[in-house]
Assembly symmetry: C2
Homo-oligomer: 153 residues x 2
């Protein structure tokens, strides 16, 4: 969480993780992709495509929508970020994903997002899906509510 860590450190980690992922996946972390990823991590909350666009344009990058949407597409494909569907917004991921699944706790007060990695949820969902004869491919879970910090205030 924001309050409990050196954020510059966690940006660094995210970027170096990205380098490694790109080596593993044999793809390229180009300057634009890297810059977008960095801006997403700097935000540390879900950030919108057009906000990224605005920030890019103030840093000598080309500021057209396809530029940022392509970068987002790339980062999503490589599980370096996720899209928060209920907000049309994007957030960094520091998890190791086996599958195409993502699970979020979204605080309605502070808009801080926590990604879950609890495998028990997937297990339960799998079981229920199977019962319906359904074969899951990707899962998205978005839980809206109040985080512990905000509950105290």
């Amino acid at each position: 969480m924001w309050q409990r860590h050196q954020h510059s450190q966690c940006i660094k980690e995210a970027l170096s993780k990205a380098e490694q992922v790109c080596i593993d996946h044999q793809c390229r972390l180009t300057p634009i992709r890297k810059k977008v990823l960095e801006l997403i991590w700097k935000s540390h909350k879900p950030i919108k495509a057009y906000d990224l666009l605005a920030q890019l344009s103030s840093e000598d990058f080309i500021e057209k929508p396809p530029t940022v949407y392509r970068a987002l597409e790339f980062l999503i494909e490589n599980n370096l970020i996720h899209r928060i569907e209920s907000q049309n917004a994007y957030i960094g991921c520091n998890h190791d994903h086996e599958n195409l699944d993502s699970k979020f706790l979204i605080c309605e007060q502070c808009n801080q997002v926590e990604e879950l990695s609890e495998p028990k949820i997937n297990k339960t969902l799998s079981e229920v899906s199977k019962k319906q004869g359904f074969t899951p491919n990707m899962v998205n879970i978005e839980v809206h509510g109040t985080c512990s910090q905000c509950a105290q205030n």
Copy 2:
């Protein structure tokens, strides 16, 4: 599922359930709201706001965006439909909801959607949330994959 029921029957049921819900909630199922709900049920798959708009306009209703978005808002508030976030689309609900939660199996082949009501999922999610000190308010789960029908083909 589409293949296994008289669809005209299930539209009728949805509309009469809606009447009852509106009595209970002391709100009004106006002609526009009723028409939108009917069109959503006729589709029997997730349908987009502007597709509804097009269908309304061919039936002597006013065809401006706010008209349909207001109807959608009303229907969502009363749990008569849900929004499929990953598709910007809307689908009818014939469940009885205690809470603000919805869980879907979405077939990537036929785009048929099944709503889950399995309470075990909520229970698991609640437990995991609590462990993080998080108080859930509303939950949305969207599982993409292949339905049993499509798996056979």
